[in-house]
Symmetry: C2
Subunit: 368 residues, 2 copies
């Protein structure tokens, strides 16, 4: 499963695996893909440094990437308290009431409230980059919009290509104009922030829009057949996120969330603003239903919603409150039916890819 892009990055497979877990990123890279670590939760640069050092040791020179969230619009001098002050009391009450309705306990004293808004602030993203460039990062990815020009320039000066996610051909062209090297076309069926255009339509559209830049297809890819389809559509590889959530390396095994993911069908996700304020595909839960209910106050815009629900989500996850428990995940969740190692997922992707190519070859009259 090699393309020009995967060869250039020194990977065996044109398989880019996004994950918030260093152990998963390391295993993807060791299995021949490019593990891409999500940096958003690293508000402490020291923690990121420690995890990248561990990744370096685990991957022994094989390529891995880092995914940062860096809004182009700067919010100079804006603190978390400033943003907190913008949240209406009605919404705070709705969070309290919904948690109370489901009997969600408080966090134990001293336990971390998890994800904070600060990971989304440019100042924090810049400290992440300072750390990243001390390490042999093979790819810098930007999850929301293109990074600022100076960051692209700095990345290029270090010889690190920059990738950015796009949900429309227009976004993709904007990325190209910003000097981005690789565009990730993220289809409607993908987990996380996603637009309305499905991968089948979006991928060739983005390929045409940014030609000759390489494009990775994201959304709807969890098998080798789906990866082959993405390459048939003109992509130079697949960008996979959901499929790793139920791997052993994700460390969620035997937990309620894993059970929900393994049981979910392709129709059990929803594109909701409940998580961050922008539409993001995730497991449909009583929590997303409450936010999407026309009777409720509805989600706030980004970044307010993320800040509003951060502690609530930490409590839901901490106590594994089943009806509310969710995660960003794509429609391929329906095919995630057993807990496996990253290596076995990659092996199955490789086999499925070969099957699909053989099948197509046979249909065109060769070998069949």
């Amino acid at each position: 499963m090699q393309t020009e892009l995967s060869s250039r990055l020194g990977a065996e497979h044109a398989l880019f695996g996004f994950t918030p877990f260093p152990a998963v990123a390391a295993a993807i890279t060791r299995a021949g893909g490019v593990g891409v670590l999500g940096a958003v939760r690293y508000t402490d640069p020291g923690a990121l440094r420690r995890d990248l050092e561990w990744l370096d040791a685990q991957t022994g020179g094989l390529p891995y990437g880092l995914d940062v969230v860096m809004p182009v619009e700067r919010a100079e001098g804006v603190t978390e308290a400033d943003v907190e002050a913008m949240i209406p009391e009605e919404h705070r009450r709705f969070v309290r009431d919904t948690l109370a309705k489901h009997g969600v306990p408080e966090l134990p004293a001293g336990e971390d409230g998890g994800w904070r808004i600060t990971g989304w602030l440019e100042s924090v993203a810049r400290t992440q980059l300072d750390v990243a460039f001390d390490h042999p990062v093979a790819l810098l990815a930007s999850a929301l919009g293109p990074p600022p020009a100076d960051v692209v320039a700095r990345s290029h000066a270090q010889g690190v290509p920059v990738a950015a996610l796009a949900g429309t051909a227009r976004h993709a062209r904007r990325h190209r104009e910003a000097g981005i090297d690789i565009v990730v076309a993220q289809g409607y069926e993908a987990g996380g922030h996603t637009g309305e255009i499905a991968t089948m339509v979006l991928t060739p559209e983005v390929v045409r829009a940014v030609d000759p830049l390489p494009v990775l297809a994201a959304g709807g890819i969890g098998s080798g057949e789906q990866l082959a389809a993405a390459l048939a559509l003109g992509a130079q590889g697949g960008w996979l996120g959901s499929v790793w959530l139920t791997t052993r390396e994700a460390g969620l095994h035997a937990r309620a969330l894993t059970r929900k993911l393994l049981a979910a069908g392709s129709g059990d996700t929803v594109r909701s603003r409940a998580l961050t304020g922008k539409p993001a595909r995730q497991l449909r839960t009583a929590w997303t239903d409450a936010w999407d209910d026309a009777e409720g106050p509805g989600p706030l815009p980004m970044p307010l919603q993320g800040l509003l629900v951060a502690e609530a989500n930490a409590r839901i996850q901490r106590w594994e409150v089943e009806p509310l428990l969710g995660t960003p995940v794509g429609q391929i969740v329906g095919s995630m039916n057993s807990e496996r190692s990253v290596q076995s997922v990659v092996d199955e992707l490789t086999r499925g890819f070969e099957r699909a190519v053989t099948r197509l070859r046979r249909l065109t009259g060769e070998g069949g």
Copy 2:
């Protein structure tokens, strides 16, 4: 582009083209695919007979199909007047007001109001079948749910395989239990009635669900690369509807609707209940916006909505009232940028398919 299924039906290409226009169906079949004529508008069996006789003459023994709409639930003795009586006055007023707001004139005296509810009634669908079985129809397709058991049995007795559309794996399994021979997996990005699961995810899910029945992929297929992707996903062919709308044979050329279709991007469709009461993807227009507006009365359930808006749609189409003018169409509308003959569409599909297969072959180290 041949598969076991296309060979069995005697077609050169695994390309199934759904269209309401006999001239398009004939051209698809002559170009090596299987043209499938939509029968819903034939409330007069004589008109259907004339068009099938014409199709027979045009296709000279090459395979074509017929698509009927046949609800499984019988509504014995229900007349159009009974259904009319169920429409609230508020909704009738909303139609009048919306048409008046855009200055839509009445139909000229004596001109047909177009599509009527009767095409959706089982009694009418059965007269269509009586006509169809007098002709060498190679495929009977059912657009909404599986046809009744006796229709499947009659079709099989005539040696005609039956296809049915499915938006979920559950629907597909229900079709298999009903004795259906071919399942059309219709993804979220498709034009017309469609579910929430994208083609990339739905196709392999349906293939697994009904194995070893052949599956056709619908939704997101307008190029040979997309057809190759569908086959990589396990489909035995593509079911294409939108791409024919801007062909010369559709006879819409130089008309306002064609101009709108050629100008539309992939983001210019919406999945709306405005047309029939069930979610159907179509061009987004001021008309769909009015129905989807939370301030308005909202669409009625099927079949009431279709009956309510039939005459309004006929007037909008008759006078080509640009802001309101729409049609069912999928997200691939973004790639429909020039008016061409059916033959040239098929030629381009074939070339694109070969390109995609060659590309995949090269990636796996052969010939590259």
